[in-house]
Amino acid sequence: MSAEIAEFEKDALGWFAENTPGAQDFMLPLTFMEVGTNQQFEFLRDWQRKVYEAGYLGAAWPKEYGGGGLTQAHQDVATKAMKAHNAPIMFNTIGLGWAGPLILDMGTEAHKQKYIKGILNAEDVWCQGFSEPENGSDLGNAQLRAVRDGDEYVLNGSKIWTTHGHYAKYMILLARTDFDAPNKYAGLSFFLSPMRVAGIETHKIRKLTGEHGFTQTFFTDARIPADGLMGAEGAGWQVAMQTLMYERNAKGGQAGGYSITEVNPLEILELARKAERGGKPVLEDPVIRERLVDFMIEAQAMRQNAGRAKLPPLNQDCPQALPLMSKLVMTEYMREINQFALSLQGTKAGYYVDEPNAVDDGYWHRGYLNAFSATIGGGTSQIQRNIIGEHALGLPKTR
């Protein structure tokens, strides 16, 4: 590590030590998909702006568009410092992690001028309009209709499971511009679409935890400017695939920070220390001990996978394997470790959030139920297995 980066890291650690907010009297979202109340939203928006203004978000993005103009190494140590201090998430993930890098990579100069800064300072919240009620995993079959009319496109149809739908100013949108294309993929186009125009309405959906979360978004003769088209008309599928690469962390260029709070097995160890069975600490139960070690091995494997991904000589046989599998591995681990945490709580596993007797105020219950957001959202674990099988191992396609 160069002296400059080391200095930057030291400053970042100092800054987060000083500025990371403590516990609030409401639950902070553990993932960006969990933002459900205005209170949570305002809090995270302020926090992101503060981190950005301190120079620890978008550090590697170009200065002319609002970034820090430094290197990825700078951003990496800043992100590490956030983690070290357990800082709240950077919630504007769809902008910071997916739309932003896409715009920087293939957007026009005007796009970059218009969107990048607002993504970083959280002025402009972004959402993603890919899934539809009838077309989820089969994203290529999306049917929302976009018809060109002069300088505009006219949109009709609906998108669903739209994270941040009711807060968003912009949407990355996959729509069908050609219903007669030779195959389903060729008829798709990709847009940077405004959300606050006549004809676009969002309806909140209540999620399994009981809180409000994502939305269904309805488009009725909604007119959006044609200059929001990304790539050529009919090339939407390729653009969507590139977006998903960012989303699944299979491609770099994100602004930095994290959007999901990871569970460290040591936190579970704390739970096991507190819990008793038959008058003895559960930490003495050999079955529990074995499971805890399994999670530690898993956490270590994820950490070292990330390390190995940066060492090409140790990846020669299948360089795309580690990037393609990271989403599956991470999200399934989160689901399982949260689930295991419930099993350590005895009768108290039956409590839920807001119950005064609940262990850690129901943190693990909420964590477990919310963990499905990531094993389903962004392409389900089953779809991830198809992708790894077909793209890394070359197995025959499932049709």
């Binding site: 096991a272 001990r289 070292q304 996978n305 000589p313 140790l314 046989d317 099988g389 191992l393």
Partner: protein, 376 residues
């Protein structure tokens, strides 16, 4: 937890990786592996003669004793690639024996064995006994002092490749109750002293060794104030190399399965299109990737006190679980052919069972890890 352990590599390690990849691929096609399984000694003596001059046996031997002066970090890719091609030789046994001498030998003992080993002489270790205990200190073999040397008596099991070896490192209880490790020249052993064991991994060779008052001179004893440390070191080194073998074998087992899933058709479809086969195969592959990350982490941190031990045990656990699962599913996914001797899936499954049985299986290492990591 091992917060500071980090994966990395050395340039020499990468050189070894590519050299070994090429060599093992060329020298050990599957037809050859099958043929050697039928042979008495289980390895190709000509290939073994080539390994000496390549310098691989001397990788972890200090330069002053004729070696390359590197460490097990650089041995790992060699063992991984050998196992990937199911190439058997006395390489692992010899490496372990050399480690014992490097750690516990005096200058005289090191000069006697290490330069020759670095040139290509084989050696092995005799540490396990019929009690089947993975604790290498739980032994019944005795060493009685007798004027100018020691008399060794007892039965040793799972002695790898002893017929190829010039020396065998034997553990025995000294009269004081502590353990001594002895360099026993194999020419001091009679033919009846050695019995080939029937083991589940037919690509390997393992023997029972009957020590019936075998006399060795005083100079055969390694520093017996270090015996426990040496045994611990051999235990970890053996598990590191097992992890390398399991990981290498897992890679080819998965390749073998994928190949079949991409050629066999049923119901008018390639069977790999069925997710009931595709998804478990992907799970095996994902596990393999994790195993490899943990293996190279263990290799890179092997010398680190404490961290090294955690890393090795984690690598062995994951690698064993990976190959066991990958090979178990491989048998199933080959259908009727999977049930045959000709299908290679059985070779991988047997390899996993055998390596689990040596120096501690996954559950054993998890217990050790629990004691290391889960302080009450």
């Amino acid at each position: 937890m091992s917060g500071v352990t980090k994966i990395g590599f050395t340039e020499e390690q990468i050189d070894m990786l590519s050299a070994a990849e090429r060599f093992c691929r060329e020298k050990s096609p599957m037809e050859k592996v099958r043929k050697l399984m039928e042979s008495e000694r289980g390895f190709d003596a000509d290939v073994w003669k080539e390994i000496g001059p390549l310098g691989w046996l001397g990788i972890a031997i200090p330069e002053e004793y004729g070696g390359v002066g590197l460490s097990l970090t650089e041995v790992v890719p060699v063992v991984e690639q050998m196992a990937r091609r199911m190439m058997h030789s006395p390489f692992v046994a010899t490496t372990l024996a050399a480690q014992a001498v490097i750690m516990g030998g005096d200058d005289f003992q090191k000069k006697k064995l290490l330069p020759e080993i670095a040139q290509g002489a084989a050696a092995t270790v005799a540490l396990s006994e019929r009690n089947a205990d993975w604790n290498l200190e739980n032994i019944d073999t005795t060493a009685r002092f007798d004027k100018t040397g020691y008399v060794l008596s007892g039965v040793k099991t799972f002695v790898a490749d002893i017929y190829a070896a010039k020396w065998v490192i034997v553990s025995a209880k000294m009269e004081g109750g502590h353990i001594g490790l002895f360099i026993v020249p194999t020419d001091a052993l009679y033919g009846e002293a050695i019995r080939r064991e029937i083991i589940i991994d037919e690509t390997k060779r393992s023997y029972e060794l009957f020590l019936d008052k075998v006399f060795v001179d005083e100079e055969a004893l390694l520093d017996d104030s270090l015996s426990s440390q040496i045994l611990e070191h051999i235990h970890l080194a053996a598990n590191l190399l097992s992890a390398a073998e399991l990981t290498g074998a897992a890679q080819s087992c998965i390749d073998y399965t994928v190949e079949y899933l991409g050629t066999r058709k049923q119901f008018g479809k390639l069977i790999g299109a069925f997710q009931a086969l595709k998804h478990p195969t992907v799970d095996a592959f994902v596990d393999y990737q994790k195993s490899r990350s943990l293996l190279y982490t263990a290799a890179y941190n092997f010398a680190q006190q404490g961290e090294g031990e955690v890393a090795v045990r984690m690598a062995k656990v994951k690698a064993e679980e990976t190959l066991s699962f990958a090979a178990d599913r491989s048998i199933q996914f080959h259908g009727g052919f999977g049930f045959t001797y000709d299908c290679d899936a059985q070779l991988y499954r047997r390899r996993a069972i055998f390596l689990a049985s040596q120096y501690g299986d996954a559950r054993y290492h998890k217990q050790k890890l629990a004691d290391l990591l889960l302080k009450a």
